[in-house]
Amino acid sequence: MRVTQEALRSIRRNLGGPLIIVAMALLGLTTFFAIFAPLIAPYDPARTFEGAYSLPPFFLEGWDSRFLLGTDDVGRDLFSRLIHGARISLLAGFAVTVLSLTIGVVLGALAGWKGGFIEAAILRLMDTMMALPSILLAIVVVTILGPSLVNAVIAAAVTAVPGVVRLVRATIREEKAKPYSLSAKLYGAGGFRIVTVELLPNSLAPIFVQGTMGFGEGILNVAALGFLGLGARPPMAEWGTMLADSRAYVESQPWLVTAPGLCILIVILSFNLLGDHLRDVFDPKLKTREEA
């Protein structure tokens, strides 16, 4: 009982300003939409309504009461598509984060613990990847694998790996030099054990912060690939792809472009606010992250 009370107090203390509450609320709402998309969305996102092409949203003349936010050029309900888009974007962001963290942590820990040739090889590989503009690397990866949501996720994860590797390697090295790991070594613990049991748990905070920020970035990169026509396949309702599809209507039906763009912005903004806050909580020393 006391433990929960303490935890609650610490949460309250760490909750930060109203901005964080708004961000959390927005993320909560998006997650809610994402999980219950089929129940909330009035229609199947792929369903086309014959004759109901390009209808405007509720605040404009000519609104059809069946479609709250209007329809797109093939007669699909925009509101339903946006809600299902939340599902796809969150899933994509999650997958990018998990994938890049897994690969990044393994490589980073390996480099940080082993040192020597292995470290040099891994670091040079990461340098090579970082010397290319990330979106270009992603484009090449997607053209190799073929455009699809899964492959866009893989591409986005690949570009996120170097950042994680460097971070993990640096923290592992820092922890490695600390007395507790030296003593563990003295007591004859194996390398693998030390890394997984001692070092990694102690490096969790920065990795966690990186993960939160990476979540937003993953969503952004998947959406950017979708925008370039290299992401989700139709009729999947992915925000970036929806944006690209309605580019031609940016003048005549601006809401088709505005709505998915705003959704992307809001979700990423929420993740970044949250990430900023978590960093302040976990490690006030960490600086503003420079690289995109």
Binding site: M130, N272, T288
Partner: protein
Amino acid sequence: MSRAFKFGQIATTLFGITLVAFFLIRLVPGDPVTLLIGERGASPEAIAELKARIGLDRPLVEQYGLFVWNALKGDLGVSILSGRSVGAEFLERLAATAELGLTALMLATLVGVPLGIFAALHRGRLFDRLSMGLAVSFYSMPIFWWGLMAIVIFSVKLAWLPVSGRIGVEHDVILKSGLLLVDSWLMPGSLAESWAAFKSVIHHLLLPASVLATVPLAVIARMTRSSLLEVLGEDYVRTARAKGLSRFRVVALHALRNALIPVVTVIGLMLGTILTGAILTETIFSWPGLGRWLVSAVLSRDYPVIQGGILMVAVVVLTTSLLVEIFYYFISPRSRGRG
């Protein structure tokens, strides 16, 4: 870290780049010949013959060796599509991207640094919160969307700025340096014509540069703020304040100088971000720069352009980060101490 070691690292990275640039793109299904022929089709013999002519029939390792050998000699080959030298095309494109990217970086610095300073000085107050809220929004901005919206608002609806391109076609500016801001003064014709051309260039630059500046501006503002706050908390600043120096003098003379070192470093290292942003910005604004050049080369499998282009982009990125490191080494007493 010794300097020789550093150069060794860079050389290894560049070698890695040649491998990636060469072999990765060859994993992509389809080849330049298929794309050249299009919907039309041709007999397998004809296709094989065309491939042989571009040298695609040779063993991959041999092709790779040739690429590296020629690159060492400074020859990046010839674009399959345009028939022009890859090196020459790269320089042209680099100039266009540099003009856009540097303008964007300048805008980002001119707005971002003051914003960060004011925010730090008003820490915790409304201005700080607002400007940092703005910064994090900018940082989260999907610029492909932001660019589209900017075009609709400023070019189409308000008709303030041109829709796309680098200069009004009525200005007969010949590319010399590749930077139109410079070349507009080198064109034949009167000074008035040059001035008009120069204005047209600025006019065309403003919108794409502002869009491209969005993310860097946010990063610079946040960095400036946190760096200044850190310095303000350090002993010598507190000592200076205690000695009775005015707050303005302390900030302007002491704190700012030290606080800006990491900021300058960040600006220098922002090149990767700028290039990534440029790929999207150039697509939206039809800007004839590096990003569009490379993306269209990937899509049309123009192997020489992809190989050469990626290698050169990496050279530019690595050179810049090396320069930044050197700069940091000389300017920062701390890093020299650690050496």
